[in-house]
């Protein structure tokens, strides 16, 4: 799960990582009031779940409250990489002396957290990694022993020479490491970590991604989920306990199992079609899930055909067939549907499907080709 910069900064502040003052505004007047209260130049920062906000014009400097109002007017409602800006963070502008990067991610290959620091901060770190990898310093941490103070200090020395600033940065790295564990994060990032004219070291930006598997024990963070920032269909799918990702094509897919769902999408593409979505109904045979899945897919006006691919192992095909029939009766779909049910109780399933005259296909490749044909893809 992604959270916004302002929410990540709330978590940072709670962990005593220094961040500039800032408040959230949802309209220009609020932005004006915040800036006026601060009585100093501010930054107006769009809050959307995407990188490259600055380049897209979603982060601007405002000399005074009036300018903040004008900029908030401009930024609110702006479209950044397909996402509408609904909130801006109004935060005090800092006089920046230096910018660096600090990030911690879960490294899958070593199964350890890795801390990355770079004196080249304030820019896209992936670009730094690609062009000047020597400017990135990595330290893999023993997850059982944790981060030691000397390790944090060594990393801080890669960023600063002044011992005062090294100590401050090391302290921030230690606290950031705690945030990583305490929030079940898969990524925590400060980009940039700055020094200002007052000699302070501050997290000017903040990013935290949370491991969805840890959310059950992170009620405060789970409550930070911004439903407004997500695709409504994806929200509905999550509430219905389905894994769903919206894509651009016109062939809706309902599949059991994430790997098979991906493979089905890939085959749609391979045979000349475009998948409209990824959808995994999971391992249970609950017919209601099929109904919800079909409802979500049918709400996409682009969809021209629906492909249902079930490999029944533990999942019983007849249960899924019953779900399909129920969905048919409830939703009355106007787009063609093609079904492939293989495995446990498939004969009964085929009998059930016959009652609603649904075309069934035998093999994985057949069902995909048929769906493409029915969708009328050129």
């Amino acid at each position: 799960m992604k959270i916004h910069e302002y929410q990540a900064k709330e978590i940072f502040a709670g962990a005593r990582i220094p961040v500039p003052d800032g408040e959230i505004a949802t309209n220009p007047t609020e932005a004006y009031e915040i800036a006026e209260r601060y009585n100093r130049p501010v930054m107006v920062k769009s809050q959307v779940h995407v990188g490259g906000r600055g380049k897209a014009g979603g982060i601007k400097y405002a000399e005074n409250a009036e300018a903040a109002k004008v900029l908030a007017q401009k930024i609110l409602g702006m479209d950044i990489k397909g996402l509408e800006v609904k909130k801006v963070l109004v935060t005090s502008a800092e006089d920046i002396i230096s910018e660096s990067y600090v990030g911690i991610i879960l490294d899958r290959a070593t199964k350890k957290p890795v801390i990355m620091v770079s004196p080249a901060g304030g820019v896209d770190i992936e670009e730094v990694a690609a062009k000047t990898p020597e400017k990135i310093f990595k330290l893999y941490i023993d997850p059982v022993l944790g981060l030691k103070a000397y390790q944090a200090r060594n990393l801080a020395y890669k960023l600063y020479r002044d011992i005062g600033q090294v100590r401050k940065a090391a302290d921030i790295i230690m606290k950031l490491y705690d945030v990583f564990w305490n929030t079940d994060a898969s990524l925590v990032e400060i980009n940039p970590l700055i020094t200002n004219t007052g000699g302070e070291v501050l997290a000017l930006d903040a990013k935290i991604n949370i491991d969805d598997n840890g959310l059950y024990r992170q009620p405060v963070i789970a409550a930070m989920r911004d439903l407004d920032a997500e695709d409504p269909a994806e929200v509905e799918a999550r509430e219905g306990d389905l894994s769903f990702v919206k894509l651009d094509g016109n062939i809706g897919c309902i599949v059991n199992g994430a790997g098979l769902a991906m493979a089905t999408m890939d085959l749609v593409k391979r045979y000349g079609g475009e998948p409209a979505n990824f959808l995994d109904i999971g391992g249970s045979s609950n017919p209601q899930k099929v109904v919800t899945a079909m409802k979500i897919i049918l709400s996409d006006p682009k969809v021209r055909a629906i492909l249902i691919n079930i490999f029944g192992g533990i999942t019983r095909c007849d249960d899924v067939a019953n779900g399909i029939v129920a969905a048919f009766k409830q939703l009355n779909p106007t787009v063609p549907i093609v079904v492939r049910l293989t495995g446990t109780n498939e004969e009964e399933a085929h009998k059930i499907l016959k009652s609603v005259n649904l075309p069934a296909a035998d093999t994985l490749d057949d069902v995909v080709k048929k769906a493409i044909e029915l969708a009328g893809v050129e």
Binding site: R108, A109, E126, D211, N213, G259, L260, L267, R270, F311
Partner: protein, 362 residues
């Protein structure tokens, strides 16, 4: 033969009184697995079917002499169940539970390594050795005893591939679902190493997906240590970046973990990647036929194609030339290969010599 489990496998089901635990305990038993007990705190002394239930793993292991456990407990308790199994002396753990926090897994992993425990999962369908044993949730009716090893990060996609093999009469030694999470106990390399060392396994199917670099590392390992034919499939070519595709580990992040990168890495070391799961048996048959023929012939078949790959092959072949010959298959093999080469140039590149078995050591 089989890997990781066999007829001697004696299983304790952790979380046996739950809905999934009780159902799959019975399914495993019906398949012929020696399910010797179950554990649910507070339910000790009762039975599930005829399976005795214990309060603790320690008691269960002492009384039953079990060597393996399978975990069906909810995600909040799964990690504790792993520690309990390790401390009770269990040597093979299959964790089926989906939704275990990655941070917990990072802490458990060094512990299982320290105790020499083989852990499969979490978020996996488990493992099945046709005719020997099954631990987990894989459907028993789709497998068939044979000489193919299957390893996969997926569940139903694995069944699809296994079913395609079975339909073609190609049975399996062992099928392993290693799980779809970011941090898992057993990765591709562990399984490839085991299949390479298992004399009954003659060829390997590896099913990967987007996210992480496990497939790339497996490709490098195959180049160095695996002499048996390998065919791969990678799911998620159409997956958008930054989105978790069902599995916690199936996500393209920071531009890495794409299907294209994985396919390139595999092709580079001569492993054909099937375009559809249904193509796996055909590709495998081609490779296995090729493997039975003398190395010299194999060299001829791909002559002028990829000098680098040819060189490695030739070197290997001189080290330990094949004892087996299969003259009669040569003609069909060559035509088939040519046909295949047209479709997928990488296919003909796969290692072609036979008999060089170099069990991986670690």
């Amino acid at each position: 033969m089989s890997v990781f489990i066999n007829k001697k496998t004696k299983v304790i089901v952790q979380g046996i009184t739950g809905r999934d635990g009780s159902f799959h305990a019975q399914q495993m038993k019906d398949y012929g697995t020696s399910v010797v007990g179950g554990v649910t705190p507070g339910k000790g002394g009762t039975t599930v079917g005829t399976i005795p239930v214990f309060n603790t793993m320690e008691e269960a292991v002492t009384k039953t002499k079990a060597n393996t456990s399978v975990i069906y407990v909810p995600p909040a308790f799964a990690v504790d169940a792993i520690y309990e199994a390790v401390d009770a002396g269990i040597k093979t753990i299959v964790c089926v539970t989906e939704g275990v926090p990655a941070n917990d897994m990072m802490k458990v992993y060094p512990y299982i390594k320290k105790h020499g425990v083989r852990m499969i999962g979490p978020n996996c369908p488990g493992i099945i050795s046709p005719g020997e044993s099954k631990v987990g949730i894989m459907p028993g009716m789709i497998v068939k005893k044979g000489n193919i090893g299957v390893v996969s990060r997926s569940g139903t996609l694995t069944y699809e591939a296994i079913w395609a093999l079975t339909m073609e009469g190609m049975g399996q030694t062992t099928c392993i679902g290693i799980g779809g999470d970011q941090v898992i106990g057993t990765n591709f390399i562990d399984c490839l190493e085991a299949f390479q060392a298992d004399p009954a396994t003659k060829a390997i199917v590896m099913i990967g997906e987007i996210g992480g670099t496990d497939e790339e590392e497996a490709a490098a390992f195959i180049k160095k240590k695996v002499t048996k034919p390998v065919v791969a499939f990678i799911a998620g070519q159409t997956a958008p970046p930054g989105k978790r595709m069902g599995h916690a580990g199936a996500i393209i992040s920071g531009g890495t973990g794409t299907a294209a990168e994985k396919i390139t890495a595999l092709n580079k070391v001569g492993i054909p990647v099937a375009g559809s799961p249904t193509e796996i048996p055909g590709l495998l048959k081609d490779l296995m036929k090729k493997k039975k023929t003398p190395a010299k012939k194999a060299k001829k078949a791909t002559a002028g194609k990829k000098p680098a790959a040819k060189k490695t092959r030739a070197k290997k072949a001189t080290k330990k030339p094949s004892g087996k010959t299969a003259k009669k298959t040569v003609v069909t093999r060559v035509t088939k290969l040519k046909k295949a080469a047209k479709k997928k140039p990488t296919k003909a590149k796969a290692k072609g010599n036979a008999g060089t078995r170099k069990p991986g050591k670690k």
